[in-house]
Symmetry: C2
């Protein structure tokens, strides 16, 4: 990361372009990417047999789906951060529909990745090569645990695939495609917004970053900064209270492992969403920030490991499994929670530098725009 | 740690005293401590019911046993490092008998500590307090796993206790006590050794340190230096080949989890022994090195966690346990292996500084003594 102030980093694009040029340029491009990727993603889903094993051809053939997800996230993020530039109802509806498609599209690849992650972990843990045996080398429960995880994840993926195939033919998707077609040709900015200077958008991007910084300050980073603190498995709840009570908390002192883990992960997952929003907001301003991409990847790793741990804990509750199978699942579960801790540790080292650097940049920007809030500028 | 060279650190004691004064002074004191602690330790063992639960009164009442273990380790270490000063057979026999008593005495307290460690870990992992729930909060398998571990460790401790009570009345212990009585009054140095200058002993202590440094160089410290490398659970065997092939290696490519873990831990356990030898050798020279005490504690933690992990893996093979119990044991096993990794990480940060500092000290000593090896000086 460099120490160049934000206004210098953003280069001439945000400084010289109008709000309309920046927002329209970005959304037109992303909506176009959406429309190009949609038929490809539909084709990929249709040509993919539902019960194909994890990995292999289907993973490689998901480029259209990936491109579609990419566009969906960016349009949704821009409509959230720069909501003041659009009709409120139109932006909210668009975001709802994009979120629906995101959830629909993301599930099958997520199950594929989770399957690959967990089977690789299990194979590695039970590796019997004398040069690099794992902690479960040759354990009798390993093949059964592997078969169990593979079966359950394949089933989940097949269900997600079936749902996807149905919804790809739905009127709801057609309506969303129409919405994106309109966006690709004419971005519906509110009157008077388009002519404002581009640094209005930068100020709004700064607000997105401040929302991220505020949420990141609530993370137990001092705990995560100590490697092998041992707290990760032992004291999940040692985080500041979450803004909205989790379901488990509403139940009072009755805490089970699943809800405790979910409450522990929730603030990190929220920060991940805020990282993405700040990242896309800076893209809109023509000031992409590579360190935000790094944070996004770190928190992606965090989410993947946390989700994988939940899958393992669920699999361990399957009736009639053998104790050996359950034992192996216990080790794999702890291993995935360790990956969660590793991602938090990485975040704890990546975030402070970025936060300081970006905050300094935003500070200089703020003084240049006279301290006016974006809402005031837009009004 | 300070940067004072070793010869300066050792102060006047090794520089001004003769080999005989240093060795006799140390061994007389330690043998005296042995003789004072022995009846107390015997009394403690006799007054301790075999099946007393872990912790509580028995742990507090083991001060005599601790003092006895302390003296046994120090006499044995000194006889090893400064063997050239004594009759070869006498020193070897004495060390064999001291090792026998060490193994005999150490078992029961070790099972006590292991029980306390594992039950605390399990309680912590299954803690349901909303402010700090563990990864296994309220898991149904936790109480059963706890009862199983407690039962097995109590049984092991009771067996160790019975053996100890028998051996404390044995002729073998009486003979060792007689040997220590002689040592307390007259340390049997070889002719001509006692009058040599004290820095001969320092040179021998330097050899003990060099043996430690050589073994420490074989440790996979670069791996241990990366927190959450994930290799700890996944690639146990990724260490340089051990000097003497482990049993598992002799069997060729057939590796199971227990032997793989044992082979992975073995070099660390060897380093722990060498740390103790170097530590006691410096004590003999009147130059105690606090950083070696720190390393000793770190490797003690390593050993305790590794032993606890073995206990959990063994418990998980108990016939007819429930899958929920086995699952919890899997998590606890991984948690203890994580503690092993944490201790290695700590060692990887403590060792290099100490190694550099001490090696510099030994280097200056070596040049002062004209580069002669201790064997040459003793001859």
């Amino acid at each position: 990361m460099t120490d160049v102030p934000m206004t210098a980093r953003t280069g001439p694009k945000a400084a010289n372009a109008s709000t309309g040029e920046l927002l329209s340029g970005y959304l037109t491009a992303q909506a176009g990417a959406f429309l190009r990727a949609l038929p490809q993603a539909v084709g990929e889903a249709g040509s993919r047999p539902g019960a194909l094993p994890a990995g292999g051809a289907s993973a490689a053939a998901a480029a259209g789906t990936e491109a579609l997800l990419r566009a969906v996230r960016r349009v949704g993020g821009a409509l959230h951060t720069f909501a003041a530039a659009f009709d409120r109802d139109w932006a909210a509806e668009s975001r709802t529909e994009l979120r629906w498609l995101l959830n629909l599209l993301a599930q099958e690849p997520a199950f594929l990745r989770r399957s690959a992650r967990l089977l690789a972990a299990l194979d590695s843990l039970s590796e019997t090569d004398p040069g690099g045996p794992g902690m479960l080398a040759g354990h009798t429960g390993a093949p059964k645990a592997r078969a169990l995880l593979e079966r359950q994840l394949t089933l989940a993926r097949t269900r997600a695939h079936t749902t996807l195939l149905q919804e790809l033919r739905s009127a709801r998707l057609h309506a969303l495609a129409d919405r994106m077609t309109l966006l690709a040709s004419d971005v519906p900015l509110l009157d008077g917004v388009g002519g404002q200077p581009g640094d209005v958008l930068l100020a709004q991007a700064a607000e997105a970053f401040e929302a991220l910084a505020a949420e990141a300050r609530r993370l137990p980073l001092s705990r995560a900064a100590t490697p092998y603190g041992g707290e990760g498995l032992h004291r999940l709840g040692a985080v500041p209270p979450t803004r909205e009570p989790e379901p488990s908390r509403a139940r009072g002192s009755e805490v089970d492992a699943d809800s405790a883990v979910a409450a522990d992960d929730a603030p990190w997952h929220r920060v991940r969403i805020l990282v993405k929003r700040a990242r896309y907001a800076l893209e809109v301003c023509g000031a992409p920030e590579p360190d935000l991409d790094l944070l996004d990847r770190t928190l992606h790793r965090h989410q993947e490991a946390a989700d994988a741990a939940v899958t393992v804990a669920t699999a361990a509750r399957t009736p009639r499994i053998t104790p050996a199978t359950a034992y192996v699942l216990g080790v794999v579960h702890a291993d995935q929670r360790l990956e969660v801790e590793a991602a938090r540790y990485a975040f704890g080292h990546q975030w402070p530098n970025l936060a300081t650097g970006l905050a300094a940049g935003w500070g200089s920007l703020r003084s240049e725009t006279g301290g006016a809030t974006p809402a005031q500028r837009m009004a």
